[in-house]
Amino acid sequence: MSDNIMSGADIVIKALADQGVEVIFGYPGGAVLPLYDAIFKQNSIRHILVRHEQGAVHMAEGYARSTGKVGVVLVTSGPGATNAVTGLTDALMDSVPLICLTGQVPTHLIGNDAFQEADTTGITRPCTKHNYLVKHVDELSGIMHEAFEVAKSGRPGPVVIDLPKDVQFAETQYSSPDEINQRHYFEKVTGDSEKISEAIELIANAKKPIFYIGGGCINSGTAACKAVADLVRITGYPATTTLMGLGAIPSSSPQWLGMLGMHGTYEANLAMHGCDVMIAVGARFDDRVTGRLDAFSPNSKKIHIDIDPSSINKNVPVEIPIIGDVGEVLSQMLNIWNQKAPNIDSKALKKWWNKIDEWRSVNCLKYDQGHDSNDTIKPQYAIERLYELTKKKETFITTEVGQHQMWAAQFYKFEKPNHWMTSGGLGTMGYGLPSAIGVQVAHPNSLVIDIAGEGSTMMNIQELGTMAQYNLPVKVFIINNEWLGMVRQWQELLHGGRYAESYSAGLPDFIKLAESYGMTGMRAKHPDEVDDVIKRMVDEPGPVIADIVVSKEENCFPMIPGGAAHNEILLGLNESQEQTQSEDGMVLV
């Protein structure tokens, strides 16, 4: 077996290849030079050189979320690792499977405040699912393979492997994945059949039911999404999706009520508030979804399907918790449902749908787009046109964080899972551009659009360099209102219109910025230019920055103010000119 003796750096690369990794997003530095040497000497794994380590992690997130694979990041010690922390936290919150390899000073220097030393495992402990410090090369193969299992299994998440430089040089025998003894770490996959029967009973007898579908469904895979769509169709019940769950069921389904939550639709939120049976599928009752907890869906019995036991009864107590993989549990449910073919109360259901149609007729997302010469572009209009002109293509959408993100969630529609990448849990500004790069690397021939705000996109604007280097034809579609719009909206609503530090002064000319990177820049200032810019952007084979100059004062509605209940949803500013929020609510973010 002496032919299996190799250096730690080679073991890392071999293990990545054996785990099916095709691409790494990284940035070199002193503590990872042996690893970069190993990358140089092989051809099976591609390396994408980023401009900042945070960008690398978001790229890996975009890659992972659009493919269902594990994303891989490689950064150096100290600042390399600390720069990755925001991305790791983002991946933890949004359950994205990642492996982040960090260089570390040699083992004998650890703890000596050596150059570019940081306590990486200490710093990343709360922002990873698990992390490792490899102290001896003999542990390396095992840790590499175990890390992939940890990242992928259960509720997915990021895993850091800290690699001291001497371990990268040291030699030992490599072990392949099947030679590794797995630890006791595994997750319950199939659901408890008794609980499932109870759930079926409850679902079948519901009078005002709703499916509440989250990102866990997408994480579980396309089979899970198909199963949930089937269950929704067979029952004829209404369904709403969370921000992370967009695309889990086709938006073209007439049973889909749109997104729920703080900026969700009127009908979705009121249906959640008024339902008698809630079927939560891979969703975690986030505060953006629930609003005021003690007024959240007060009269419903709740079924909660989730692979993560710690997500059950965390914020909202549920009557029937089912722990297991969403896809497995749903196929168990479908089997039983099809066998029993229960009679649902179609009269009650019809009444419920009539009520929902009443709410729908409010048309909560309406906006007025004028086309006179002095009219400005409404952000909603720009995104709606973007959707109309790109929906026939295989299009992936990423976003930054803020108003444009919520408008994108409201106006861009998804038929399939894994085509919508946004920072939901952590709300990381600067997510969209690098994430789009990761998506484009995974899908080189697809249309990838970062629906951006001018504020957020500046937070990782350096990644234009990565786009340029690899000629990745990402389209950055900037909804430019020159304001940190969501901050400005809250200041308008809650802080008496005192716009402290929310104006984006000193913005670049995005056309010139694009051109300086050898990309194409374009701009739309009038509603009538929007279609033309979008068409030119889509037809352009290379990367594009499209600067869509929109009206500055537009606010994002509907809105459930912090600390309010679903039925206190605001449809527009005219009904909330006075401060509508309680003092308790103001404290909430």
Binding site: T121, G122, R125, P126, H130, L133, P309, S310, N313, K314
Partner: protein, 172 residues
């Protein structure tokens, strides 16, 4: 429907004996705002591969459920047993108590120590060190009495606990 009563729970957490495992457990509690009333840890397996963390915490039933679920999510955690929930168990704590005094207080300290079955493990002209084992309440009341009799220094181990009867925590 939700029960907001604060309950005290004794948890036995079996973990892989590896660097950082205690930091993971403690970080989980501080990061999520849970209480730790006491915590002890020592290796318990023949080959030193596993340690047992005896942990006393408090919270509403919903929080206690969260704590257990969150602990079980940690990769090096093998098993979490809620001894309070699982039935009768023995709780014990060990303490060393130094008291500095003289004269009649000194004799009184000895007399109380006798009542509590505390052993004298060190003595000097103006001090004793007592060693005492028992429930946290017993140690607490002993310490309270001693405080009246002089300057006191206390070293307490924190609670260790085990189920009554023949069943081990591994079996439940």
């Amino acid at each position: 429907m939700t029960n907001d009563n604060i309950e005290r729970h004794v948890l036995a957490v079996l973990v892989d004996n590896e660097p950082g495992v205690l930091a993971r457990v403690v970080g989980l509690f501080s990061g999520r705002g849970y209480n730790i009333e006491s915590l002890t840890v020592a290796t318990v397996s023949e080959d030193d591969s596993a340690s047992r963390i005896n942990l006393v915490t408090s919270g509403t039933p919903m929080i206690i459920e969260q704590i257990k679920a969150q602990l079980e999510r940690l990769v090096p955690v093998q098993k979490v047993n809620d001894l309070t929930e699982e039935g009768p168990h023995v709780e014990n704590e060990f303490a060393l108590i130094k008291i500095k005094n003289s004269g009649p207080e000194r004799r009184e300290a000895l007399r109380i120590a006798d009542i509590f079955r505390a052993r004298v493990v060190d003595t000097a002209v103006e001090s004793f060190v007592f060693s005492l084992t028992g429930s946290p309440e017993k140690i607490g009341s002993f310490v309270d009495l001693m405080r009246n009799l002089g300057d006191v220094e206390i070293a307490r181990s924190g609670v260790v606990a085990i189920k009554r009867g023949k069943k081990t925590t591994i079996e439940t």
